[in-house]
Structures are given as C-alpha cells and as structure tokens.
Amino acid sequence: MASFQLLPDAISNLVHDGDTVALEGFTHLIPFAAGHEIIRQGRRNLTLIRMTPDLIYDQMIGSGCARKLVFSWGGNPGVGSLYRLRDAVENGWPNEIEIEEHSHAAMANAYAAGAAGMPSAFFRGYRGTELPEVNARIRFVDCPFTGEPLACVPAHRPDVAMIHAQRADRKGNVLIEGIVGVQKEAVLAARRSLVTVEEVVDDLAAGSPNSVVLPSWTVTAIAVAPEGARPSYAHGYYSRDNSFYVAWDGIAKERESFTRWMRENVLR
C-alpha cells in the first residue's frame, strides 16, 4: 500500500545519489514540486529519464543534479531552447552531461515495455534516421514471422518514477485525468514511485469506470503538494502559466540570472 509522506521525507527516502529517475507528465501535470525538492536536497549523479525534458529538467540540470539525460525532445515548448540543458551539453556547465537520445515513439514504447515487465520494446521506427549511429541502444531485429526489420530499444526500468496527479483517496489510490501521457507506464515500470497530488479526498469521484487510476498497491509513496505542477497545469484545478514559460527563456539564458532565480525561488 502507498504510504503518505511529507514531500521532503519522500524524496529523502526514495531518491539516492546515482539513481535513475523519471519525472513524467507530458506538458500536463509536470511534477515541479518533486523536482524542486530533489534540487533542495542536493541529489547528484542522477540519470534523468523524461520524454520532454522541459523547465523542470532545465532547472535540475543547471543545479548539477544530473550525470546523464535520456530523452526525446528537449525544449521549452512553444518558446525555444532549454539554455541550461544546452549549456551542459555545449559547454559542460555546471558539469558534463551524457546524452542518450531517442524518438518519442521509442520512449513511449520503452516505458510500456517496462510496465509490461519486458526487457525491450519492438516497434516500427527509426527508419532512415542517423539516430542509431549516435545511440548504441537503438538496434534492429527481424520479425521472426515476416522478416520485417523492427526497431528495438531497452525497456525503461527507472529506480524511481515521479508523477503529479489530481488526487488520491485515503487508501492511496490515485486518479489521473486529462492528458495522461506516459505517467501510468512510468509508475508501473519503476522499482519505486512517488505521486504528488493536489489533494486527498474521501472519494476519488472518477469520471468514468475507465478513468486512469493507479491502485494504492502500485505506488510507494504519496505526498500532498497543492499546485505541485505549477507552472504547468492540472486539468480541473488550474491552467498552464504560459507567461512563465516565456519568462523562463530570459531567466535561463545566463548562468547568473538562472542561479539568482533558483536561489530566490527554489532554494530559499
């Protein structure tokens, strides 16, 4: 059963230096509060997995938490670059970072394979691209029935997955609504998981018998973190702060303005 913990305790208990960590949320429900707590606790040498490393990974990479990034699209959506990610890749600041680069289809399949307990994922992809030349973990196998060459990537099996969700009930069952991304797959693929939630309620009030619900016994820890996805959004609770995504472009561009913003807004 999931245990309810305070967010600092949950990060302290679940995330260790050197872990492989996936914070997921496809534009929606991005676990900013959890990421900020990792930064505050000064975790180092993490392998960070995420389909769309956006502002939260820019902040974690710029704060020196990451040794490696596994991803498929690293930008500030609709705005431009992630300058802290770029500074790490282009200039090694604040430290060198290893890149393992995929396509979205590969990442989504790798999470699904992890959730399914498979060692790897097969799909029709990576045809004609140079990505396999720079990523040795992209391979091809022939379908044993048709002979068709299929792309193959290892399953994602993170030490810890972290997601943000709308709510949990008092038993620790979790409801996710709206754009659900790969959150369910990330939690089911991981050895340990942390779900931050907007609130804990008596009744989940799921909108449909087919709603995305993670049973309590699939989750390690739940931490209440109201507005824990800001500046991204939580469907039914608050909307995306697009103006902050635009402002981040200026904040993150220079090391000094980034460091100052982190000190004033995250590390205090």
Binding site: F26, T27, S103
Partner: protein
Amino acid sequence: MNYTATEMMTIAAARALKSDDVCFVGIGLPSAACNLARATHAPGVTLVYESGTIEAKPAVLPLSIGDGELCETALTTVSVPEMFRYWLQGGRISVGFLSGAQVDRFGNLNSTVIGPYGKPRVRLPGAGGATEIATSCGRIFMIMRHNARAMVEKLDFLTTLGHGPTGQERRKLGIATAGPVLLVTDLCIMEPERETNEMTVTALHPGTTRERVIENTGWRARFANEVRETEPPSPVELDALRELNARTARAHTGGNA
C-alpha cells in the same frame, strides 16, 4: 489587401489540407496552418496532437503540444504510448505536418544539432515525434521559413527521413508511405520532382522572384517546367488567420492556456 510573407505561408499551407484528412500536427507553424484550415475551407479536418488528443478543436493556438485547450476540445484523449502505437504506427493518420531547423533538397529534416553531434555548436530539441510521423503518416507536408541557413545543401544531422540523402533511400528501404509531398515557405511552394524526388519550385508567392528564391536556398534551387503564381490570400482567409492569432495572443498573455 496587404499581407505579410508569414501570412501567405500559413495560408498556402492551410490550403493543402482537406476536410477528410486526419492530420498529425506539429507545434508552431504547422499548428497555425492546420487550425486555419479548420476555420476556413476544411471544417471537418481531424487534428491529432502527439499528447494523445484526437479530434482537437482548439479556439486558440496551443503554445505547447499538450495545452489544456487541446484536451478540453478533443473527442477523446488517449495515452502517449497508445497514440504512437495504435494511431500513428497503426496507419490511421493521412497527413503529418512537420517543420525543422534544417531541410535539404530531398525533404530530410534536422532537429538535433548544428555542428558535430559530439560537440554541437547549437543543441536543438531533438526528434520528438517527427522520426516516426515521417514514415507512418500517409503523406508529409512541411512548412519552413525560407533562408539559406534553414534550407541547406547538407544537413548537420539527419533526424527525420524525407526521401533520403540522395532522394532514393526511402524507396530502397521499402517504406510504403509517400513522405514529403509539399514544402511551403514564405517565398514559394516546392514539390518533389518525379523520379529524383528533389524539391523543386512549383509556385512562387506573389511578388517573389526566382532570383530571391535562389539567393535564399542553400542548394541550387530548381524550378518546375511550369511555375504557377500562388493565389494571394483572400479576405476570408486573412480575417480568419488574424482572428485566430489575436485570440491566441490574448489567451497567452493573460496567463491562461
């Protein structure tokens, strides 16, 4: 009526979509063109975004691929693995609408790096969905600003397959889908030449000269035997695009998706 080159580009791209198309929409310029098509001549066009939103009908252009607006207006929203497996790989999408940092004469795209991969001068966002969109959708439309830095003789990295480095690799790989059939820029329209698959100019936007296209193309631009002049934007198209952009600007500066 006066109009900008960007407006001409967006409108020319929108015209390529039909009401019965099912379109996988990239963010930015493609999203503007797709939603303009839906607001004008192709009200029935089905827009699918990689965030899992199927039949999205946004009133404003989303800033990101997963804005709340897309989910709230969609017929249904599926998970991202389902989107890539059943809907894209499953062959349900007729048109993919893409852009990139660099394109070459055979419609191959780079969205990975400028400079060498191991020590890039500019680290770009990466493949995202494009690599599989390009091979799984029935046809690919592309929209790019026309300049020699973007339209290059040789890509720094081949992220997304068009017709291949010599125009023949896509065919040799036995990929059943058509690949790039249209490239719309702010100067002209290019389409692949039969057999060579080289993107050649088939229409010039009003006021654009051949010399201007040649100057702004990183490879030696070629022209089809018959080059049309693009129909200028109609008042209806311009009004619809400007309303869409004005609604979008209001929504995004207000801090609400």
